[in-house]
């Protein structure tokens, strides 16, 4: 029986071999089995953008950068505003704001909680977009060399600004500055990071100097007056001046300021902003909240803002006297946070007022005390206050400069950073026994640093 099966099989096998050969020939003879590698129909793919982006697509990436800078800035503001004792963010369902951020009792800043992970990632998402812009501009056949330089200059400037915001959170823990590819560079310390950011700004500045008369992409009204390479580079220098003072390079700061949009006689609010709207796909200002909202979901000015304010200072307008005291978790305040008065009020990236204060600070630090006083008086007078009448000493003027920065830049994310730069975190008010003032955030856990 066995041999019978084998012989039958052999007969069959010849047929089968023939049959398989035919099938294989059949398959290879036609392209019915071929698949096209289609792109995602739901949005532009990274690969397509980086290889052969059109001019319009490059403009979309640039606009996305501008738009992305606003993502989670409310969390950034909660972080720096609460630790800097400028505002309280009361949210009944979120005890970590009044717990962890104020260092209540045993609470510490966690390295895997949204208050650090989200704003941190949002900034790096914009950084990624700026790197995409650089790559797609490089590979684009539709841009002129000038337009390419404009794209590089814009991308590097914004990238530097975004990196600086993350560095303000983690401070001595450092940040990654080399993130252009998926192969990430190491964490670098604060000094190195500030140096890298300054270099990035300088590179961007030189790109902008070779960028012709116009960008290849539109900028929103938030950049009104700063939307050509020639004007945008004054914004680049303004950020560079901020970086210089953060790095205590005051002489450099004074030089850099000359190329910025500083205008001692001009409107203090001149500057670059993130704008908001209710249009489709746009964002509303996430920091805005009705200043008289229920305690359980409100932004409240730190009580010391009012108590420390000089009489007559018009910066009282940045707070709003509530009809009821807001209280939560053993904290309270009678004034609502009122820097952003509607859900579409713009959020400043940097303003003329800060530049004047940077010049004042740099002048103090380089020994030009009369010059500093004159700068401080510009600010004081603008806010309905008389000229500075205190001691003309370096330390007294630093006090005054920090005070003016506190009030002029209230709700723009500076107080904590300024006090930290001058080693004065211990001077920030403690509201509850056992609270702590943190120096910096831990590096987010998913960084595996």
């Amino acid at each position: 029986m066995k041999s019978r099966i084998v012989s039958d099989l052999l007969q069959q096998k010849i047929l089968l071999l023939f049959f398989i050969t035919l099938v294989i020939v059949g398959f290879s003879a036609c392209d019915i089995l071929n698949l096209k590698d289609k792109v995602d129909p739901n949005g532009p793919s990274l690969q397509a953008l980086s290889q052969n982006a059109t001019k319009d697509e490059i403009a979309n990436v640039a606009t996305g950068i501008e738009s992305g800078m606003r993502v989670d800035i409310n969390l950034y503001m909660v972080d720096v505003g609460m630790i800097g004792r400028e505002v309280y963010r009361f949210l009944a369902s979120e005890p970590r704001f009044t717990g962890d951020l104020l260092g209540k009792e045993n609470s510490v800043l966690d390295n895997n909680t949204f208050y650090i992970t989200r704003p941190w990632r949002a900034r790096y998402a914009v950084v990624r977009n700026t790197n995409i812009l650089i790559e797609s501009a490089q590979n684009s056949t539709e841009l002129t060399d000038n337009e390419k330089n404009g794209a590089y200059g814009f991308a590097k400037t914004i990238q530097a600004y975004q990196l600086l915001l993350n560095l303000t959170l983690t401070y001595d823990n450092g940040i990654r500055t080399d993130v252009a590819t998926d192969n990430l560079g190491p964490f670098v310390n604060r000094q190195t990071a500030l140096g890298n950011i300054a270099t990035l700004l300088d590179d961007g500045y030189s790109d902008l100097n070779n960028a012709g008369g116009a960008f290849a992409f539109p900028l929103s009204d938030g950049f009104a007056g700063f939307d050509t390479p020639a004007t945008f580079k004054t914004f680049n220098r303004a950020i560079a001046a901020r970086v210089a003072v953060y790095d205590a390079k005051y002489q450099d700061a004074l030089t850099i300021l000359n190329d910025s949009f500083i205008a001692p006689a001009g409107d203090l609010n001149t500057g670059v902003y993130s704008i908001f709207s209710t249009a489709s796909g746009d964002q509303i200002n996430p920091i805005y909240r009705n200043p008289d909202a229920q305690s359980g979901d409100s932004w409240v000015a730190h009580p010391s803002y009012i108590t420390d304010l000089e009489a007559g200072d018009d910066r009282i307008n940045k707070v709003f006297q509530r009809s009821q005291t807001a209280t939560l978790d053993g904290l309270g305040g009678d004034y609502g946070f009122y820097v952003y008065k509607t859900q579409t009020d713009p959020y400043p990236l940097i303003r003329n007022e800060e530049l004047i204060l940077i010049r004042a600070e740099s002048r103090i630090q380089t020994g030009d005390l009369p010059g500093a006083v004159s700068d401080l008086n510009i600010i004081r007078n603008a806010h309905n206050l008389p000229d500075y009448s205190g001691a003309q000493t370096e330390s007294a003027l630093i006090d005054e400069m920090l005070k003016q920065r506190r009030y002029s830049l209230f709700g723009e994310g500076h107080r904590w950073i300024d006090m930290r730069r001058y080693n004065r975190l211990n001077q920030l008010p403690i509201d509850r026994t056992g609270d702590n003032v943190w120096q910096q955030f831990p590096i987010p856990a998913p960084e595996n640093a």
Binding site: T63, I65, N129, D182
Partner: protein, 1026 residues
């Protein structure tokens, strides 16, 4: 057409194959084939000369007439549902009358072995579950196909996501087979891969369910297999693991459900009309808390603490007198049981079916229609379906057979607003906030009072809102069988089949301005419109070669072919807010937000298979399938899925002489299958991000994985099948192990990349299980026939390797218990917080508190035929173990409205009680509320159950009576009563142990947050055959 070009050389070649068989003498045999029990003639019995392709079928009177070549031969008589018989015939035979015996134990069932082949169960090397039309719908009326499979498939965990009309089921075959991939079986209807997606209605815009602890959708969607009409189904084969499902390659990891619809029969038109009328009701009431004035005040107007300000005291006084007035009012006008008010409707159920089957020897038709109209147990909810089917078979010529199926379905379902929310608007969540002493009913003018303790008045929401899903679906397929070559030893066939599944799903949800919660919103009035269009197309070509050598020692079946599947889906959901007046069109609003999402899938497969059968003693099968897909990173790469199996029928060997064991077969099977990554896993896509009127694009949270591969499943299955005592009992025993490697997992990325997640292949998990099936026909006499089918199955899963830290896979956080995927643990484990003693301290840790997977399941299916005309059948299912996360009870407790709030029988451990500060006198509600934040153990509840799934009692009018009443006009009338889920016994402390707040999930089934409660159904049935 390219397909034709491809086949052309093969066809040409095969035609050229020469044969040398010469026909010699021939003779005729004729006779009648009847049922051995009833003596009724059998129509369409197939009579084939063994080892040839010569065959005929019986006519409408059961007569046949066959011409047999040679001088003697063996005739095989076979008929669906009957045991085949063989007879030796010769020129002397002349007339041969044959009686066939009904195959009550399914010994002769045919199961799928390849894309173009099947095999008698007796020879099968796999444990393939088969459900016949009778098992599927013979006992009672089922709403959906997946619902009709309850308790009928061993190895399956089939669970309703809720009791909402229109379906919504989770089907798991042999355990959790994926964590992030598609989790439902592949459904193939008459060769067409049909879509079974769950497309949510967009209700999250109102419920904000995804805004809280879980970002998952909680819209309670149906899954689209619900559209098919269960009564159109002839049989269902369920391929439970890769060893059988490898024939479907890269899409088969979750198993394959192969559905065949009914075909026309040869003979005069057979018209069958069935009508069922019934009603449903909530299957279990939880009861409501009976408030006293004291408990009402304690709950709704608690006195202020010491040191309260005068303002606070005044506010308390006002609240107290308000609650008192509500309570006094209720004492006068009556307390209201809101559970009855909301879930108390006895819905009317109506199901009408008409089918016509007729045909000549050349052409057969089957046409059926269905009208279904089912009310829900909540007012204004229900399900309506109309379905029309036409299936045509035509023998074009001696060698070409054509069959066409077509099915159009229209359905609407009103599913209400249930499950979790974060806005207090769903029926369940509002109900939990409603004590029995408030009156929310509308006044004479139809004005609904505002709910004093909640943002929504559930009666108003129920009466004025709309959440309607409309489906229009067309499924069609065509198949051509061409016999290219037919000799005594060779049969070569080409089979080409193709099909299309096209549907539009529209969900219209309207929440008018006057609803309490809309009125107080910033933009009152919400209209949500969701539109999904889906198109699946399939094409498959197979060349099939059967070789019967003249020696008759073996049969060799070879098949090779290719398959092409394409699927496209387009979803547009628009949410309009601030509606103008009572208008509901999207443009009649002050603001509108639209989102569109498109997905596609293109698959190309090739396959080759050999089946080698040595005299039904050794049956060896080996095959391989290669698949490539647009879902893979590399779309040009074929992934290969081999399979091999061996069945050895010991009882067919010469030495076998065990008298009481008719058949004994050992079998072993191995196979591999895959599962694709979710759409988009390979893309890095930038999303819209606009500013200042300019359109911008920004990277999203997901980084695409360009090299993403399918998940890989390898299954080994082994067991034996035995048949005892003259086929009065059969036993099927199966062990399996599934190993899933290259799992699709999500990895958290360093945020400085700008991204948050990417999908990658890694890790490994296994499912091991046992399935035992026992079929018995203990009593078989003319007046009493009893068939019993008992199944036992058990599965355990384990995550062997997990290259990422343990992660959560559904739920609302450890405080409320949550599913957690963790190396070394079951894939369906539930963890939660719980206090433990560690040295001198008691600390609250997160630890395992339960497992959703049952310890085992059993099903019992019994049919009794009594005095010929009576038929009683029932299906019962016992699920032992398997935990749910019951958060309905939590929400009732937090609102103080639980039915057992004031009882004292709730127990917990001493440690938990001590940590939670539970006092001896505390009532249940207080005890459980105190445990919130201390332990999650009270939410993890045993969801074991025993359910009487289906029961039916039928009477078939005797033929003599029919003749007397109707003459020849009516051939059968069947009357009966039936029920679904009439009895549920379960320790679970909510409506029903079958529930899933997150819908159809790979892992996180069994989370309950105030669902649409389960229903029980009762029907009166009439069926008339003309």
């Amino acid at each position: 057409m390219k397909l034709k070009l491809f086949y052309f050389p093969i066809i040409m070649c095969l035609i050229l194959l020469t044969t040398t068989d010469i026909l010699h003498a021939q003779f005729k045999v004729n006779g009648t084939v009847t049922d051995s029990k009833s003596g009724e003639p059998l129509v369409g019995v197939s009579i084939v000369v063994k080892n040839t392709t010569i065959g005929v079928t019986t006519d409408t009177k059961g007569n046949y007439d066959i011409t047999v070549p040679g001088s003697q031969a063996t005739l095989t008589f076979s008929y669906v549902g009957y045991i085949s018989k063989e007879f030796q015939v010769s020129t002397q035979t002349g007339t041969l009358n044959v009686q066939l015996k009904e195959d009550v134990l399914g010994l002769q069932e045919v199961v799928v072995t390849g894309l173009a082949t099947s095999i008698k169960r007796q020879n099968a090397a796999n444990s393939v579950a088969t459900v016949s039309a009778k098992e599927l719908g013979g006992t009672t009326v089922n709403e959906t196909i997946d619902g009709a499979l309850y308790g009928k498939i061993s190895g399956a965990q089939i669970s309703a996501n809720s009791g909402a009309p229109g379906g919504g089921f989770t089907v798991k075959l042999r355990g959790v087979t994926t964590i992030n991939g598609a989790s439902q079986p592949l459904y193939v209807v008459d060769g067409v891969i049909v879509d079974n997606s769950s497309n949510s209605a967009g209700l999250n815009a109102v419920t904000a369910a995804a805004a809280g602890g879980s970002s998952s959708n909680q819209d309670n969607p149906t899954n689209r297999i619900a559209d098919l009409n269960p009564e159109d189904i002839q049989s269902i084969d369920v391929l439970k693991g890769a060893s059988a499902a490898a024939i479907y390659g890269a899409r088969a990891s979750n198993g394959v459900v192969i559905i065949k619809t009914k075909r026309g029969r040869i003979g005069a038109p057979k018209i069958s009309f069935s009508q069922s009328i019934g009603f449903n009701s909530i299957s279990k009431r939880l009861g409501v808390r009976q408030f006293t004035l004291e408990t009402a005040l304690a709950n709704y107007a608690p006195p202020p603490g010491a040191g309260a300000t005068p303002d606070e005291i005044a506010a308390y006084q006002a609240r107290k007198s308000f609650v008192e007035s509500l309570y006094n009012n209720a004492e006068q006008n009556g307390f209201i049981n809101y559970e009855n008010e909301m879930y108390g409707q006895k819905g009317l159920l109506s199901n009408s079916g008409l089918s016509v089957s007729w045909g000549t020897a050349k052409t057969q038709f089957f046409v059926s229609g269905l009208l279904k109209n089912e009310d829900g147990i909540i007012k204004h909810t229900g399900y309506e379906k109309q379905s029309l089917r036409a299936n045509i078979d035509h023998q074009v010529s001696k060698s070409i057979h054509l069959s066409v199926t077509s099915n159009y379905i229209h359905s609407t379902s009103d599913r209400g607003l249930t499950n979790n929310d974060n806005t207090g608007v769903t029926f369940g969540v509002s109900l939990a906030a409603t004590p029995n002493f408030v009156d929310l009913r509308p006044n004479q003018n139809g004005i609904y009072p505002d709910h004093p303790f909640n943002t929504a008045n559930p009666l108003q929401t129920r009466d004025l809102m709309t959440n309607q899903e409309t489906i229009d679906r067309f499924i069609a397929s065509g198949k051509v069988d061409i016999n290219l070559l037919q000799t005594n030893s060779h049969i070569v066939k080409v089979i080409a089949e193709g099909g299309v599944d096209n549907y539009t799903q529209q969900n219209k949800s309207v929440f008018p301005r006057r609803l309490q919660f809309e009125r107080i919103s910033a933009q009152p009035g919400t209209s949500i419109f969701n539109d999904v269009t889906n198109m699946n197309t399939n094409l498959r070509g197979v060349v099939l070669h059967t070789y019967n050598p003249p020696s008759g020692q073996f049969t060799l079946v070879s098949q090779a072919g290719l398959s092409i599947n394409n699927a496209d889906q387009n979803t547009i959901v628009s949410v309009a807010n601030n509606l103008i007046g009572v208008q509901t069109n999207l443009d009649q609003s002050a603001s509108i937000n639209t989102q569109q999402n498109r997905t596609f899938q293109n698959d190309r497969g090739i396959f080759l298979q050999e089946e080698f059968n040595v005299k039904d003693t050794y049956i060896l099968t080996a095959g391989v399938r290669g698949d490539k897909s647009s879902r893979n990173g590399n779309v040009d790469k074929f992934y290969f899925y081999p399979k091999a199996s061996l069945a050895v029928n010991l009882s067919n060997m010469k030495f076998w002489n065990v008298k009481d064991i008719n058949q004994f077969k050992l079998r072993i099977a191995f196979g591999q299958s895959g599962n694709f990554a979710n759409f988009g896993a390979k893309y890095t896509t930038l999303g819209p991000s606009n500013i200042g009127g300019y359109g911008g694009i920004l990277i999203g949270t997901t980084r695409g994985t360009e090299g993403i591969r399918p998940e890989q499943q390898t299954e080994i299955e082994t067991g034996f099948d035995a048949s005892f005592f003259d086929d009065r009992a059969t036993l099927e025993f199966t062990l399996y192990q599934k190993r899933i490697t290259d799992m699709l997992l999500n990895r958290e990325l360093e945020p400085s990349t700008g991204y948050q997640f990417e999908t990658f292949n890694g890790g490994e998990m296994t499912n091991r299980g046992i399935e035992v099936g026992l079929n018995l026909n203990p009593i078989s006499s003319a007046n009493f026939n009893w068939v019993s089918n008992i199944n036992f199955w058990k599965n355990t899963s384990k995550v062997n390797k997990l290259p990422v830290p343990a992660f959560r896979a559904g739920g609302f956080g450890a405080t409320l218990a949550i599913f957690q995927i963790e190396q070394g643990q079951s894939a369906s484990q539930i963890v939660g917080i719980d206090p433990v003693v560690q040295g001198p301290d008691t600390t609250i840790v997160t630890r395992k508190l339960g497992d959703h997977e049952p310890d085992f399941q059993m099903s019992f299916y019994n049919t009794f035929n009594i005095f010929k005309n009576w038929e009683v059948s029932f299906i019962a299912q016992w699920k032992k173990g398997g935990d749910n996360i019951n958060l309905s009870q939590l929400l009732f407790d937090l609102n103080g409205t639980t039915g057992d709030y004031d009882d004292t029988d709730f127990n917990t451990t001493e440690l938990r009680a001590a940590v939670a500060g539970i006092q001896p006198g505390d009532v249940n509600g207080v005890k459980r509320t105190k445990l919130l934040g201390v332990s999650a153990a009270q939410y993890v509840q045993d969801a074991s159950y025993f359910k009487l799934r289906e029961v039916g009692v039928y009477y078939n009018l005797p033929r003599t009576t029919l003749n007397k009443w109707f003459g020849d006009n009516v051939s059968a009338i069947r009357l009966g009563v039936s029920g679904n889920n009439l009895i549920t016994i379960s320790p679970y402390q909510s409506y029903d142990p079958e529930v899933s707040n997150f819908g159809t999930q790979p892992v996180a089934g069994g989370v309950e947050v105030l669902p649409y409660p389960a229903q029980r159904k009762f029907f009166f049935n009439v069926k008339i055959d003309f």
